[in-house]
């Protein structure tokens, strides 16, 4: 049994529609805590999870931005964002809470194919 694999989490849900985004981050941090290589890819509405200036407390939701801030402590440094998903939603990489690496839509499939475990969430 290999002791280490490359895990890619593909985040496609907006941050505060339900509990999905928050539970996914539990997943991400646990996987990293087990000493695995973890990368994140934000696609579609998932890019909203990184949008700067959110105040979900106003609707009684937990703020997940601080959890993203903890990713570096878990050695998760590769946050990939699909450029077209950002652009289609009027967002820019500069308006996100963390530095990200950009990927174009035509590069996504090849990128995913290089990972061992791909978790769509």
């Amino acid at each position: 049994m290999p002791v280490r694999k490359n895990f890619l989490f593909v985040l496609r849900h907006p941050p505060h529609g339900g509990i999905q985004a928050q539970e996914t981050l539990d997943f991400v941090l646990t996987t990293a805590a087990f000493d695995q290589t973890v990368r994140l890819l934000f696609l579609d509405d998932g890019v909203f999870q990184l949008k700067h200036g959110q105040r979900p407390e106003a609707i009684g939701f937990k703020h997940i931005a601080p959890i993203f801030g903890a990713l570096q402590l878990y050695d998760i440094e590769e946050l990939w964002v699909e450029e077209e998903s950002l652009r289609e939603r009027g967002l820019t990489a500069e308006g996100l809470i963390l530095p990200v690496r950009l990927l174009s839509r035509r590069q996504v499939a090849a990128f995913i194919s290089t990972q061992d475990i791909v978790v769509s969430c």
């Binding site: 694999k5 895990f7 539970e23 997943f27 646990t30 791909v118 978790v119 969430c121």
Partner: protein, 130 residues
């Protein structure tokens, strides 16, 4: 081949549970191994022991229990997702002063570490439900 499976959707709400079940039955028929089935997000509702569907409907939860009984498939429900939604094992229920046994036969409740371990042991990992 060894498969690890994750199910994210509640029964009846979407196709995730049905598709996963059919896939697992087919894989076992072909001689493949199911390392573990992990239930996350609303997928935890697949383990509600009190479900009583009408007799002329497919018993989504009961057939998971049958799968565990017949093939020893390890059905694991994520503890944090389950507690958040009110599904407790007997042991946790006792500890929380909510004595009951909500969990269907054949399931167990455990941490995400078991999911990571299943991914490491498996040749292929499949997620059902977005």
């Amino acid at each position: 081949m060894k498969f690890a499976i994750q199910i994210n959707g509640a029964p009846y709400q979407c196709q995730a549970s049905d598709s996963a079940y059919q896939f697992i039955r087919a894989a076992l028929r072909k001689g493949h191994e199911i390392v573990r089935v992990f239930f996350y997000h609303d997928g935890i509702y697949n383990g509600l022991g009190y479900a009583m569907p009408p007799d002329d409907e497919r018993p989504v939860i009961g057939r998971w229990s049958a799968l565990a009984r017949e093939h020893g498939v390890d059905l694991v429900i994520c503890i944090s997702a389950a507690q958040r939604r009110g599904l407790l094992s007997e042991e946790e229920a006792l500890r929380a002063g909510k004595a009951d046994q909500d969990l269907a036969e054949g399931f167990r409740i455990a941490g995400l570490g078991l999911w990571v371990e299943a991914c490491l042991r498996a040749d292929r990992f499949l997620v059902f439900g977005g």
